[in-house]
């Protein structure tokens, strides 16, 4: 049993994590530690368990077994406290189409008890370069614009840990470039970032550590600077071929 006193410099600690859906094991005994300020990028083919791992870490779904500590807080017992420390960006922007971007940010700000909310909304909106569209309805935004506001929403409460599940899905090149610029800023600010992506090049650029998952397990682990892009591609192909996964 891991206690909060043992946490030290760990932002996230996962022990023997499993998650099954009906009889299908999506995660099979994951052990993982993420240090504070670390940028961990997780690669893997579809069905590897990346999204399930992010959903468990973000407390959307419960583990079937195992322990997950967020900043030393066991998510089974202290889920609400743990959620305050996390900002989540996923395929969905979590924005209400019939409300304006400002109304959406104001709503989430209230849920997170963000102090001086109006000023903070201005700050995060400026960060994602969307000040001009702040009072427009979300339904009028392109996917890229929605994802920029999704990042603003995730950063609104100044989370210690950012969890990102393929945040670049469906974005154009300009929006992807902005997303990565913001994420590099977050990494530079020593915020802990855990991200899943299929984009090996950009992921490698951001990662201080990288993992490859396959069939619910971590099958490769390395330092972000220990591989170049060719090496990462080779490692990715090797481990996924070994596991019999589609490339």
């Amino acid at each position: 049993m891991i206690s909060r006193d043992d946490v030290g410099d760990k932002a996230i600690e996962v022990r023997k994590l499993t998650r099954t859906f009906d009889d299908f094991p999506a995660l099979r005994g994951i052990d993982l530690e993420v240090a504070r300020g670390e940028s961990l990028v997780i690669f893997g083919p579809n069905g590897a368990g990346k999204t399930t791992l992010i959903r468990v870490l973000s407390t959307i779904i419960r583990p079937s077994s195992g322990t997950v500590l967020i900043d030393g807080l066991n998510i089974k017992e202290h889920a609400e406290k743990a959620r305050r420390l996390i900002g989540v960006v996923s395929h969905h922007p979590f924005l209400y189409a019939n409300l304006s971007a400002y109304e959406n940010l104001e709503f989430y700000g209230r849920l997170y008890d963000v102090p001086d909310l109006k000023t903070r909304i201005g700050e995060v909106t400026t960060l994602v370069g969307m000040t001009a569209r702040l009072h427009d309805r979300v339904s009028t935004f392109s996917r890229g614009m929605q994802q920029r506001f999704a990042i603003a929403r995730a950063l609104l409460h100044r989370p210690q840990i950012m969890l990102l599940d393929e945040p670049e899905t469906g974005l154009d090149q300009q929006a992807v470039a902005l997303l990565w610029e913001v994420l590099r800023g977050e990494a530079a600010a020593r915020r802990t970032v855990v991200m899943t992506t299929h984009n090996l090049e950009r992921g490698l650029d951001l990662a201080s550590r990288l993992l490859i998952m396959s069939r619910g397990k971590i099958v490769f682990e390395g330092g972000g600077k220990s591989l170049d892009l060719a090496g990462l591609k080779q490692a990715y192909q090797d481990v996924t071929a070994e596991a019999g996964c589609p490339q």
Binding site: T59, I60, I61, V88, F94, L99, Y108
Partner: protein, 222 residues
């Protein structure tokens, strides 16, 4: 205090969203008035209205309630926002109460418009304090139970079918209580005569709210 601030944030978000989209109130209100008109054509003046009107009224409100509650969590899912609520530090109690209050507002608005139409078409005095109290108590029971089942149905494939199948058998005591209390009210009986049925409605409100608070966390779990 924080609890209620977050609850009202969720309720206000739902009300504002509905005010802009008019997806629930408009469609359910049209349905409700159509059902009242159909009942009016079906029964006309051939039957003793006081005897059948309470049944007609609560069958209409029951179907309106099912339609309205069906949309409650589906809109969250369609916008992909439900996970946004789940990852926020708002407790599951806050989410349930906020969504329940929003559904209560929608249904009360629909009933407030439908009751005068019902009164006009059937030439009955339904706009009385007694009927208002019965409607309020029954509607609270409805949404307390319905919000729970709406959340449950959202995670199923045939969600529009699942909600009435699960919800209606459970909410039958509220419908029986509302029909009987309404019949007494329309017959001109005093508050004292209705105490028993009003007590039953209030008791079911408390039971449904308590059970919903206890199990909502497990209901929304995937």
């Amino acid at each position: 205090m924080t609890f209620w601030r977050k609850v009202f944030a969720i309720t206000w978000k739902d009300v504002l969203s509905e005010f802009r989209a008019r997806e629930i109130i408009t469609s359910v209100l049209v349905f409700t008035i159509l059902v009242i008109i159909i009942f009016n054509f079906a029964f006309g003046e051939r039957v003793e209205m006081v005897a059948v009107a309470p049944g007609m009224l609560w069958v209409t409100f029951t179907f309106a309630g099912v339609l309205s509650l069906n949309r409650s969590f589906i809109l969250e899912k369609e916008d992909g926002c439900f996970e946004g609520l789940l990852v926020s530090p708002a407790s599951r109690d806050v989410i349930y109460t906020g969504k329940m209050l929003a559904s209560l507002v929608f249904l009360l608005v629909i009933e407030a418009i439908a009751l005068p139409v019902f009164a006009f078409l059937f030439n009955l005095t339904v706009l009385t304090p007694e009927i208002t109290a019965i409607t309020l108590l029954a509607t609270i029971g409805f949404v307390a139970c319905g919000t729970l089942f709406s959340a449950l149905a959202t995670n199923t494939k045939a969600r529009e079918l699942v909600l009435p199948i699960l919800f209606l058998p459970v909410v039958v005591p509220v419908i029986i209580g509302a029909v009987n209390a309404s019949e007494l009210a329309l017959s001109g009986k005093s508050w004292g005569d209705m105490t028993g049925w009003l007590g039953i409605l209030a008791a079911f409100d408390v039971v449904f709210l308590t059970v919903a608070y206890l199990v909502f966390d497990y209901v929304i779990e995937e």
